[in-house]
């Protein structure tokens, strides 16, 4: 997109945004937990949907406040554990150097996205046993699937918070949640990146941000400032593998938070994380299709790294800086060349991460939040020796602003404007770089 064109589109969106801000009316809605406990969304969310300390503790404790009003009997009779979350958006996207029959082209288009819906069902079944079920989809393709479904047993040993067990399909405890990003038009590169083989494929589709089926063992201290999570799961979309016990993958995360009574920094966090996602590379087949459970010769996609968070200013309206670094590796047996059979020359390795800033201005009623993120991936060892050293390197930035019109004890509705850009080295026409620019305006509401 040229500079003039970008400016023109941006101005159109700016006018549209102003009109929406001025004429929009408050919505009434009932997010389940806000209704149950009569707390506003802001109690748990630093900026929707990123959790703050209170929200993280509430989640870790199995959606319980533990003051005698949690379970199905003692909770307010008006509480029903269902909420909907929908984000209608308009998005304009332009991608450069695309291969077409008419030669290399830059293709741009804009539309109201074919939005899906999350049906969020979550709550406490009985003391210290909670659940979450999230059917998602409902878009024009008619598909619906369970994005999450799990039961969570807290305080498994007496009154200790150091052992809680989650069973089912769930998001692993990531440095920054892949399901709760502030940005709507892109996601963390670090989580989904795989080294590229020109014309080839990858048997590992592991994405840290995707929910995984398995067990999570999670523990924390009383104030939730020291946390650990250990996951045993069957990697998402693992061909030929059926469950966590036949092709186990492992994830671990440890975090330590620090608080400062005085001074410009109110809170800081450091953490380490790592995952080994195992994918089978040999299968018994039926009609050429892998037979579930028959996979063997497991090969690993590994990721490990460190993280640091700093909250500058008061935690209630902070400038929150988040830095995550990771190293990744996919075994060469997972990386197939263009014939679909021959493995790559060597394992693909890379380094990546992101730096994210979230600012909640200390303005009355905390309506605003601004955010920006820079994602980067740099390949270390290309799977193919002949590939350029920087092939498939990625850079991505995102800037956005959210104005939360209403965050009552019944609903949340926010206007969301965002610009982003992603650049990938060498994947475009004739080895050119490919860049995707995006402008997005949406209404994010939960009912």
């Amino acid at each position: 997109m040229g500079r003039k064109g970008t400016l023109q589109v941006f101005l159109q969106f700016a006018v549209f945004a102003v009109v929406m801000f001025v004429f929009a009316a408050p919505a009434s809605a009932i997010p389940a937990f806000a209704r149950k406990y009569s707390l506003r969304c802001t109690a748990c969310h630093e900026a929707w949907p990123v959790l703050n300390d209170f929200g993280r503790s509430f989640r870790d404790n199995g959606y319980q406040l533990r003051l005698g009003r949690d379970d199905t009997v003692t909770a307010d009779p008006g509480y029903w554990p269902v909420a909907v979350h929908v984000v209608p958006t308009y998005q304009y996207t332009k991608t450069t150097n695309q291969t077409t029959d008419q030669g290399v082209k830059d293709i741009g288009s804009g539309a109201i996205a074919d939005a899906g819906m999350d049906l969020l069902m979550a709550g406490v079944l009985t003391k210290n046993i909670s659940f979450l079920v999230v059917p998602t989809g409902f878009a024009s393709d008619g598909n619906v699937h369970l994005e999450s479904y799990w039961a969570y047993f807290t305080r498994v040993i007496k009154d200790s918070d150091w052992l809680n067990i989650r069973i089912g399909q769930h998001e692993v405890d990531l440095p920054a949640s892949g399901h709760r990003p502030l940005s709507l038009s892109d996601n963390y590169l670090l989580y989904s990146y795989h080294p590229g083989v020109p014309g080839g494929s990858n048997l590992s589709s592991y994405n840290m941000g995707e929910n995984q089926r398995g067990f999570e063992f999670l523990g924390h201290n009383t104030t939730d400032l020291t946390r650990y999570s250990i996951d045993v799961f069957s990697a998402h979309d693992s061909l030929g593998s059926r469950n966590a016990l036949s092709s186990p993958s492992f994830y671990g995360h440890f975090q330590k938070y620090f608080r400062f009574k005085d001074g410009p920094i109110s809170e800081a966090e450091v953490g380490v994380w790592g995952v080994q996602a195992n994918y089978p590379t040999q299968f018994l087949t039926s009609g050429g299709v892998p037979i579930p459970g028959s996979g063997g010769n497991l090969q690993a996609s590994t990721r490990y790294g460190v993280e640091a968070n700093v909250w500058i200013g008061p935690t209630v309206a902070p400038l929150h800086l988040d830095l995550v670094y990771g190293h990744g590796s996919d075994k060469k047996e997972l990386l197939l060349t263009s014939d679909g059979v021959t493995p790559a020359d060597r394992a693909g390795t890379w380094n990546g991460g992101f730096f994210e800033a979230i600012w909640v201005p200390p303005a009355d009623l905390l309506h605003w939040s601004l955010f920006g993120r820079y994602d980067i991936v740099r390949n270390q060892n290309q799977p193919l020796l002949a590939a350029p050293k920087d092939y498939n390197n990625e850079d991505q930035w995102t800037l956005g602003v959210i104005y939360t019109l209403s965050y009552s004890i019944r609903d949340e509705v926010a206007f969301h404007a965002e610009v982003s850009s992603n650049k990938v080295k060498g994947i475009g026409y004739a080895g050119l770089d490919q860049r995707t620019d995006s402008i997005m305006l949406g209404v994010d509401f939960a009912y």
Partner: protein, 260 residues
């Protein structure tokens, strides 16, 4: 390199110390406390601190109206303002059985700031000082004999009128009770194994002596001896296995601001 760090360390530490001192505050920051209040408290207690937030009308136990400066949980006598540490105690522990959760996961700075802001709702904090803290004598220890004596105290002070003979909150007056704002109240069910303002034996003792301001629960400090009060504590504790019984007794005076 280590020599250079050693040389510059005192200077760096000094700068940080000065920065920290400049930012330090013994009392909370009212301006920031307002934001804390808006984020966590306003939905129940209202933007004017009058207990009429958007959630209030749906609650069986109404949020506190801060404008009078009357607080249920205090370490000070009935009618007195609370100490900051009393408000911190409530924030840290919550009020069991109500909609007031524990805010112990909030950072200390936020709790300090919101306390400073909540105090601005009542002019009393600008003109009055809290009275002396109620002294709590040592717990002589939970025993069957003390429980038996406590049962007699329970009858003598007519506790059953509201709380019922079995302590289940179903006494003859149970349906006639209102708070200072005219809201219907239900006497607390003492058999739950938790007490609203804390489960320590000293917490229960303190309620007898300080009362729960704004509610029909009076203070008995003028008429109840400390020995009778401890017997009554032990009787209450006998109503549920959920209460922690202090069989050995204690010599500690549990002041306000205690954290569990």
């Amino acid at each position: 390199m280590s020599i250079r760090i050693t040389r510059f360390f005192p200077g760096i530490a000094g700068v940080l110390l000065v920065m920290g001192s400049a930012m330090a505050a013994d009392t909370g920051d009212v301006k920031n406390g307002k934001l804390v209040y808006q984020r966590y408290c306003m939905s129940c207690h209202g933007d004017q601190g009058n207990g009429q937030g958007e959630a209030a009308e749906y609650m069986s136990i109404k949020p506190r109206d801060y404008r009078q400066g009357t607080y249920k949980w205090r370490s000070t006598p009935s009618g007195s303002l609370p100490l900051d540490s009393d408000l911190e105690h409530t924030l840290f522990n919550g009020l069991y059985g109500t909609y007031m959760p524990t805010w112990k996961v909030l950072d200390e700075r936020s709790r300090r700031d919101v306390i400073a802001y909540v105090k601005t709702f009542s002019p009393r904090f600008a003109t009055e000082k809290p009275q002396e803290v109620i002294v709590i004598p040592p717990d002589p220890g939970y025993s069957d004999a003390s429980v038996t004596r406590g049962a007699a105290v329970y009858l003598k002070y007519n506790c059953a009128q509201c709380h019922g003979a079995g302590g289940q909150g179903d006494g003859p007056s149970a349906h006639e009770l209102k708070d200072d704002w005219g809201n219907q109240l239900v006497p607390y069910d003492l058999t739950k194994g938790h007490v609203k303002c804390g489960d320590q034996s000293t917490d229960i003792y303190r309620v007898f002596m300080a009362g729960l301001s704004g509610t029909p629960m009076p203070a008995f400090s003028d008429s109840l001896s400390s020995a009778d009060a401890w017997d009554l504590v032990h009787f209450i504790q006998s109503l549920s296995p959920g209460y922690a019984k202090n069989v050995a007794g204690t010599v500690a005076n549990n002041p306000s601001g205690d954290k569990k």
